[in-house]
């Protein structure tokens, strides 16, 4: 094990080097570029024995990875924002074919207006694409997820691709000290990929075929149950990871001081750290606050969310996206989890960080205050015309 001062992108690249993919196909897009630059350097210096394919688009990047996976190879790609949307067709293709590809997505705003900074509208728009979606909080978790994601994706019970999301710039470009495992440890943790879902010269296959109405729904059902099986596999994978690397992760979500919390803020990604700091400050003033960081948006931690929020008096969801005409998608998902569990407490949605807008500790404090006192159902940070930021999301900027 060694320690290095690395950005999120660089840490992720280190994790990918340890996972030893056979094929890497990627197209550059800010803020993903550092990860593919580091990987190409590793291929150049011989420390990574992958075929690095310089594809002509993100659509080709994932199409190529699907081809490699269909050959039985371990395939990796990375993208962001417009690139993720450009390859969207292939997202569904990879998951429908049950090809366990791993992708890093640097979460970034989507045009228009153009903007290269971080929000999560890109990946959250693809929740229905059939990929496991996990959101890292820091560079160490990014590296560790680069390793764990393969083991989860390639597990026979799952056979589903994984998208690891890193907040653009805030995480991809921010440096911290990261522990880098030894290759021998990584090899022990992650066995080579073995599959029947591949080209086979001894027993030829027809792959990625059509299926009519008589069987199509069965394929979809099996993809669904494969994704659900990931819940158990994530837990097993994290246990195995802790045994080898000594770091224990918390499953589909990460709860902080929620046991006795009266107001809980649910969020995801790198903003969770600041939310925890604010929670500590509030706790010091006797306010029983807590934070839930969703790690896996798919499969969605319905039961875990219900368990974390069941004793709270109110909750909020802070997220970097908006489904225009409704509310934040994470909020919708959290509400559904509570509804299914029969938990009926007031919930408020806070849309922040769009296009890289900073979310301050002060704003998070205000969010907690709003959860405590009651707010609009949907609130846009930075837009304070309360009348116009209600359920219609029809806000007006005062800035």
């Amino acid at each position: 094990m060694s320690r290095k001062f690395l950005s999120g992108n660089e840490a992720f690249a280190e994790g990918i080097r340890l996972a030893k993919p056979d094929v890497i196909s990627a197209y550059p897009i800010t803020p993903q570029t550092i990860v593919v630059e580091r990987l190409s350097e590793m291929v150049e210096d011989g420390s990574l024995k992958s075929d690095f394919i310089h594809v002509e688009s993100e659509h080709s990047a994932l199409s190529c990875a699907i081809g490699a996976s269909a050959a039985g190879a371990r395939a990796f790609t990375a993208t962001s924002s417009q690139g993720l949307l450009y390859m969207a067709e292939c997202l569904y293709y990879a998951s429908g074919g049950r090809f366990p590809i791993v992708m890093m997505n640097a979460d970034r705003s989507t045009a228009l207006p153009w903007n290269i900074y971080g929000d999560q509208r890109d990946s959250l728009s693809q929740l229905d694409s059939g990929w496991i979606q996990v959101y890292a909080e820091n560079a160490q978790e990014a590296l560790d997820l680069a390793l764990m994601s393969w083991r989860i994706a390639e597990d026979k019970r799952v056979s589903t691709p994984v998208m690891v999301n890193l907040d653009g710039f805030v995480l991809t470009h921010t440096y911290e000290t990261v522990e880098i495992p030894e290759q021998a440890q990584a090899d022990k943790f992650l066995p080579p990929y073995v599959t029947d879902n591949r080209i086979d010269f001894a027993n030829p296959k027809n792959l990625a075929f059509s299926a009519g109405p008589d069987t199509n729904y069965i394929f979809k059902y099996k993809a669904h149950t494969g994704m659900l099986a990931a819940k158990e596999v994530v837990a097993e994978t994290e246990t195995a990871f802790a045994e080898i690397f000594g770091r224990q992760y918390s499953g589909l979500l990460d709860s902080y001081r929620t046991e006795d919390a009266e107001i809980i803020l649910v969020t995801l990604g790198s903003i969770a750290g600041l939310c925890r700091e604010v929670t500590d400050r509030l706790r010091a003033h006797g306010i029983k606050a807590g934070v839930v960081r969703i790690r896996y948006m798919r499969p969605f931690p319905n039961e875990e969310i219900a368990a974390a929020l069941k004793n709270a008096k109110a909750f909020g969801v802070l997220e970097k996206d908006i489904s225009f005409g409704n509310e934040g998608t994470v909020f919708t998902n959290v509400n559904s989890a509570l509804q299914k569990a029969g938990i009926h407490i007031p919930g408020y949605n806070f849309i922040g960080g769009l296009g890289g807008r900073n979310i301050s500790a002060g704003e998070i404090g205000e969010i907690f205050a709003a959860i405590q006192s009651g707010a609009n159902s949907v609130n846009f940070l930075g837009i304070d015309d309360a009348e116009k930021t209600g359920g219609d999301g029809n806000g007006k900027s005062n800035s």
Binding site: S25, E56, S63, C64, G67, A71, A73, N206, A211
Partner: protein
């Protein structure tokens, strides 16, 4: 009586029991190419006629390893398959793509260009039936001037498609590709020879084969091969190769057969008037002047 071409081919059938229309030229091209390439061919077919008719679970009509790609992704999936199999230690295989005219010249041209630029070790075969036949005969970038399609209707104002075919053969060649060729299912021996030649060349190979669609062209199912021969004989298509930076013409009709006769046999050209036909003949003659000047003849 031995047939030297047949003797060279595998007796196995790799594309069989498919639901292509009777007399489908595309299915003939796929069948013939796979009989050249044999059991270790890995075929990639994008969304389109050939995948629609060959891969309906549980009716799976390829006996070799075969996969459907996205419409735009024939070449990029070939790239991934070739790299993936190589990474897994395989060397005795041929990654071959069969994409239609739209899948090649329109939606798939980006991925094809990328694969050629990387010189990936693949064979890409464009089976050109000159329109989006699978979706019901809409104009593609390879629909010829004058052809009626469902999106280039022939009326009194506009006589079908107004633009000529893209020159995919020379677009491929312009990349400096190791091998490119044109062919027609009407000259199956020539096509087979070219697939065979391509299979022995390292790097990217592009073969553009005219493969008539009886449904879309408005001909009888038994006329596919004849019309595919006639398009070459009348000079509206040509059999050529590009190799080592040079163009070679493989077949030079002594006298062109009648363009008008070729056109008038097909429902899609029935509406053309004399001026339209003159335009087509003039563009043929211009093309052949270019070929005479720039292509060697062997």
């Amino acid at each position: 009586m031995a047939n030297p071409t047949a003797e060279k081919l595998s007796r196995d059938e790799y594309f069989y029991g498919h639901k292509a229309c009777a007399g489908c030229g595309g299915s003939l091209a796929v069948r013939a190419a796979l009989k050249v390439l044999g059991q270790n061919a890995v075929s990639v077919l994008p969304a389109g006629c050939m995948s629609a008719v060959g891969f309906n679970f549980p009716q799976l009509c390829f006996s070799n390893n075969s996969i459907i790609s996205t419409f735009a992704g024939t070449a990029s999936m070939l790239t991934g398959i070739e790299a993936g199999l190589r990474a897994k230690g395989y060397s005795d295989f041929t990654a071959v793509g069969f994409a239609g005219d739209g899948g090649t010249a329109d939606i798939g041209i980006q991925a094809l260009s990328g694969a050629i630029a990387r010189n990936d070790n693949i064979i890409y075969i464009c089976d050109d039936n000159e329109a989006y036949m699978n979706t019901g005969i809409q104009k593609s970038g390879l629909t010829p001037f004058g052809a009626r399609t469902t999106t280039t209707p022939a009326g009194s104002n506009i006589h079908g498609n107004l633009r000529p075919k893209k020159n995919m053969f020379e677009i491929a060649a312009a990349h400096g590709i190791p091998y490119a060729a044109t062919a027609s299912v009407g000259y199956i021996t020539d096509f087979i020879k070219k697939v065979e030649k391509a299979s022995k060349i390292q790097g990217t190979k592009y073969i553009h084969v005219i493969a008539p669609c009886p449904t879309g062209w408005g001909i009888q199912p038994d006329e596919t091969v004849e019309i595919a021969k006639e398009v070459v004989d009348c000079g509206l298509w040509y059999l050529a190769e590009y190799e080592n930076g040079e163009f070679t013409l493989n077949h030079k009709p002594k006298d062109f057969s009648s363009v008008e006769a070729y056109l008038k046999k097909q429902g899609r050209f029935k509406h053309l008037d004399l001026d339209d036909i003159k335009t087509i003949i003039a563009s043929r003659d211009k093309k052949w002047a270019y070929i005479e000047k720039n292509f060697a003849y062997r």
